[in-house]
């Protein structure tokens, strides 16, 4: 039953994508650990971490595509769920430091000693256990998304209004986490991690392990999302996206469907954040900034909204471009990113995958833009 459900979404496109992921999961460990450092096939630890970072972003983009592409909820606050998951993992890693911190306190993280805190705040308890942190990574973003979505969907906040209040949500969280007395390290965030599950976090083998974990998480996320989309539930979600009132009149409780997709998406974003933190080595409140959420939206838009695979491709491509530009031409990166926003929305409303499909079908190129009459306030 479950297997059949999971196999539902596996078409040819998914097969190619999963094959690429499997290849990465095999090739990267071999290239990073099995080759000599001077070999042309060798991958440095830095490149492994960089690729792992891209794939974490890909998982975030996948989560976003599930709600934006299939349910029509444009979230400008998905980075909030990503960062919350990251903080949950960061708290586990902080507790793992133990007495090896600068102040050598076996219980309190360095920043708490520095701020003269005497004991661990209640919400830090339990994070010394990996299983607890792993549950929290999904539970905290999920619970926040559930509560937020419960209120928002029930009062039928839709479209742009929803986008703007998701943005306000992540903005409020950013301001809150910047405060020292929140107990999350203020604007320095959590950093200086030593080990994860007993393995040295800087060691090449650990890095490769984290990379493989990210690939596996991404694959699972992709299979899950594509099966949901292909199932009957997915059809309802798409129907909600295209004509919510009509679906409601047909007797579906659209709020529940939206809430399900929204909460699941937040959990996926939380996992992405949790995998991101040990590979990057730091988590701080600036990850909450509205700009990073909107950047995630553009990954999805570039790859192709409502295609799942496109979200992954878009996230990897844009972030690869970002790494290249910020190193080579830092002045031009914001121009490139800004231009990307404009060009994609104007000329590539279906993203790269949409363009590819269009070329394949050899449609007469009338331009992808359908200029509707202005002044329509419909969303």
């Amino acid at each position: 039953m479950l297997t059949r459900f999971l196999l539902l979404g596996l078409d040819k496109k998914a097969g190619v994508l999963l094959a690429v992921l499997a290849l990465l999961a095999v090739a990267v460990p071999v290239m990073a650990l099995g080759t000599a450092p001077d070999s042309p096939w060798h991958l440095s630890t830095h490149s492994v971490a960089l690729m792992g970072k891209y794939l974490c972003f890909a998982l975030l983009a996948l989560a976003l595509d599930l709600v934006w592409g299939y349910v029509g909820i444009l979230s400008l606050g998905h980075a909030a769920f990503f960062t919350l998951g990251g903080y949950a993992m960061g708290m586990y890693l902080m507790r793992q430091i133990g007495p090896r911190g600068v102040y050598g306190n076996p219980i309190l993280p360095d920043f708490m000693v520095f701020l003269n805190w005497k004991e661990l705040p209640w919400y830090w308890h339990g994070f010394d256990q990996f299983w607890f942190a792993a549950v929290m990574v999904m539970l905290v973003p999920g619970a926040l998304a559930f509560a937020f979505g419960w209120f928002a969907f029930r009062s039928r906040v839709t479209g742009v209004y929803l986008s703007i209040i998701t943005q306000a949500l992540t903005f409020a969280l950013m301001l809150a986490f910047f405060r020292n007395d929140m107990g999350f390290g203020g604007n320095n965030g959590l950093t200086d991690f030593k080990e994860i599950l007993g393995f040295d976090i800087q060691a090449p083998a650990t890095r490769v392990g984290l990379f493989v974990a990210t690939v596996v998480a991404l694959a699972i996320g992709y299979i899950l999302a594509s099966s949901i989309v292909a199932s009957k539930l997915g059809k309802v979600l798409v129907a909600v996206r295209d004509a919510e009132s009509r679906v409601r009149f047909l007797g579906y409780e659209t709020e529940r469907y939206k809430l399900f997709a929204w909460t699941l998406s937040a959990c996926m974003a939380g996992v992405a954040g949790a995998l991101y933190v040990p590979q990057v080595g730091i988590i701080n409140p600036s990850e909450f900034s509205p700009a990073s959420s909107i950047e995630a939206v553009i990954w999805v838009a570039v790859g192709g909204r409502g295609t799942l695979a496109g979200a992954i491709i878009g996230a990897v491509l844009v972030n690869f471009g970002k790494s290249y530009f910020t190193a080579a031409l830092p002045e031009l990166w914001l121009f490139a990113l800004g231009g990307l926003f404009v060009l994609v929305t104007l000329f590539l409303p279906k993203g790269i995958l949409g363009l590819a499909a269009q070329l394949r079908q050899r449609l007469p190129s009338r331009g992808a833009v359908a200029a509707k009459p202005a002044g329509q306030k419909g969303v």
């Binding site: 949500l169 409020a172 553009i298 926003f341 104007l346 202005a374």
Partner: protein, 534 residues
């Protein structure tokens, strides 16, 4: 002729007077270094009796421990360390009189009794000063020090005082001293009344002290006075918060009002709105640079010139954006949001590349700097002008939309595009001009914000979320809603700040808005009926 001669004589005497006094002071100053504490005290008392302002710096130097005796001739000098020795100056005239070796001078020692005499003498001298400002300061100093030695000088000065303000300050100073002394109850009760009338934080502290000890009658009176002062202070505190709230609200209004046009009237989500504000601020900077270079004398008018310039520059950028990007995206708000966000990134980087990432200096004209007191309120002119300006812009926009042909076209196109087009309105042009109008108003906001915020490429980003909150809170498509929304959010923010702190207050306001939108998804003043779904 005769009168002119008199004036001349008077002027001559006035010029000659300090010199004459200085000659008189000389032996007295010399007496300060005569020997033991008692001699110094006697000399100090005589110095105070002269009532000569020239004695003030001498006593101040003694207070600071800078007064020395030059050993060879016994002259009293002011000595400051320079290199290995001391640089000497004359205590009365302040003229340099060479240097001395470290062993050639000896410090005049003071004890606590002498210190008290000194401050009393200083108080007496400054209380008699011909300058009303100095007298007022002296009275305030006594009020704070509560020095019983100053009482006599205070009474003498009070008898001669003619200036109302200074007289009040002296009476209050006297009350402060009396309340701390062992004066009879009658005097103390009068003092309590005086302090109650003063009614500020300092008076409150004194009254609180009085309510704690002394006779029963004084205690009771002081307790009553404390209650009265506290309630008045609370009232002024509330008024101050209200003013801060109005001030913040007007800033929000300025930032949001352009958005009320582009988002509220046209339904375009313009995430680059903050950058229009920033462009307005940079236009102000450029205009001011021009004034600095070519007409520094007219600098006070630079802001007035910057207003139309900023409006036109931001408005032109807005028209270009509408024609090149936004017109392709009408009816697709989510795409508009993304495209304009991209534009905002590019605009920020463009300004950063042109002007550099650091803050630019925008000066305030003289009529916008300074502050005045209104009861217990301190109001700066800059903030006052911004409040006035925000309301002027709001009123002008209201008139433009309601009473002009252009406004009529805007409303017609918004309500029924096809019909408007059939009536001969060129809808595409109206779209471009409406967007230009909204952007131009953002530019005007930039002129005002350049006066109170850092002019940097990030200027707009700080306002974009707030502006959207204001428009959504007030109700999209409703200018009055924007006004009420801005003022309400501004006031709530400022009233929360004393209790929750600035950051937490802001978070609370955001949470409040998020919850509010859940209750009323269309804002405070929602459009009703079929227009909602149009």
């Amino acid at each position: 002729m005769h009168r002119a001669l008199c004036w001349l004589l008077a002027a001559f005497l006035a010029l000659a007077a300090p010199a004459a006094f200085a000659a008189d002071l000389e032996p007295l100053v010399r007496g300060l270094g005569a020997g033991n504490y008692a001699d110094t005290e006697k000399a100090l008392a005589k110095l105070a009796e002269t009532g000569d302002p020239a004695a003030v710096p001498v006593i101040e130097a003694l207070q600071a421990g800078d007064l020395y005796v030059r050993k060879p001739d016994g002259a009293v000098v002011v000595a400051k360390r320079s290199g290995n020795g001391y640089a000497l100056t004359d205590p009365v005239t302040g003229a340099p009189i060479g240097e001395a070796d470290r062993n050639a001078v000896e410090k005049i020692k003071v004890n606590n009794a002498l210190r008290r005499t000194m401050s009393a003498a200083l108080g007496a001298l400054t209380l008699m000063s011909p300058n009303a400002g100095v007298r007022w300061q002296a009275a305030e100093a006594v009020f704070k020090s509560r020095d019983a030695n100053a009482l006599e000088a205070l009474d003498a000065a009070l008898a001669k005082e003619t200036d109302e303000g200074v007289k009040r300050a002296m009476t209050q100073a006297r009350a402060s001293v009396v309340l701390g002394s062992s004066a009879p109850d009658g005097d103390k009760l009068a003092a309590v009344e005086v302090l109650k009338d003063r009614g500020d934080q300092d008076a409150l502290a004194l009254l609180n002290g009085a309510a704690g000890n002394g006779s029963e009658a004084v205690k009771a009176a002081a307790g009553k006075a404390v209650a009265a002062v506290e309630s008045r202070l609370a009232l002024w505190g509330a008024a101050q918060n209200l003013w801060y709230g109005l001030s913040l609200g007007s800033v929000l209004l300025l930032a949001a009002i352009g958005l009320a046009v582009t988002f509220g009237v046209m339904g375009v989500i313009n995430m680059a709105h903050g950058e229009m504000v920033m462009i307005g601020a940079y236009a102000t900077f450029l205009v001011q640079e021009g004034f600095r270079a070519w007409a520094p004398g007219l600098f006070d008018f630079s802001i007035l010139v910057a207003l139309p310039v900023a409006f036109l520059v931001s408005g032109a950028v807005g028209v270009v954006i509408e024609r090149s990007v936004i017109r392709w995206l009408y009816g697709r708000p989510l795409e508009t949001l993304l495209a304009t966000w991209g534009l905002s990134l590019a605009l920020q980087q463009a300004v950063r590349s042109l002007f550099g990432p650091t803050n630019r200096e925008v000066g305030a004209p003289s009529w916008m700097s300074g502050a005045f007191q209104l009861g217990g309120l301190t109001i700066t002119y800059g903030r006052l002008w911004i409040v006035v300006f925000a309301f002027l812009v709001f009123g002008a926009l209201l008139v433009a939309l309601r009473r002009t042909w252009f406004g009529l076209s805007i409303r017609a196109v918004t309500q029924n595009r096809n019909m408007a087009s059939a009536m001969g309105i060129r809808t595409a042009r109206v779209d471009a001009l409406t967007f230009g109008l909204g952007s131009g108003i953002a530019g005007l906001a930039g002129v005002a914000l350049s006066q109170i915020d850092n002019v940097s490429p990030n200027l707009g980003q700080g306002y974009i979320i707030d502006s959207f909150m204001v428009v959504v809170f007030g109700g999209v498509g409703n200018l009055w809603g924007t006004l009420v929304g801005a003022l309400a959010l501004g006031s709530v923010n400022k009233f929360l700040e004393p209790y929750a702190g600035a950051v937490l207050g802001k978070i609370l306001v955001l949470i409040f808005i998020i919850l509010f939108i859940q209750r009323r998804p269309r804002g405070l003043f929602a459009l009703k009926g079929r227009a909602v779904e149009a």
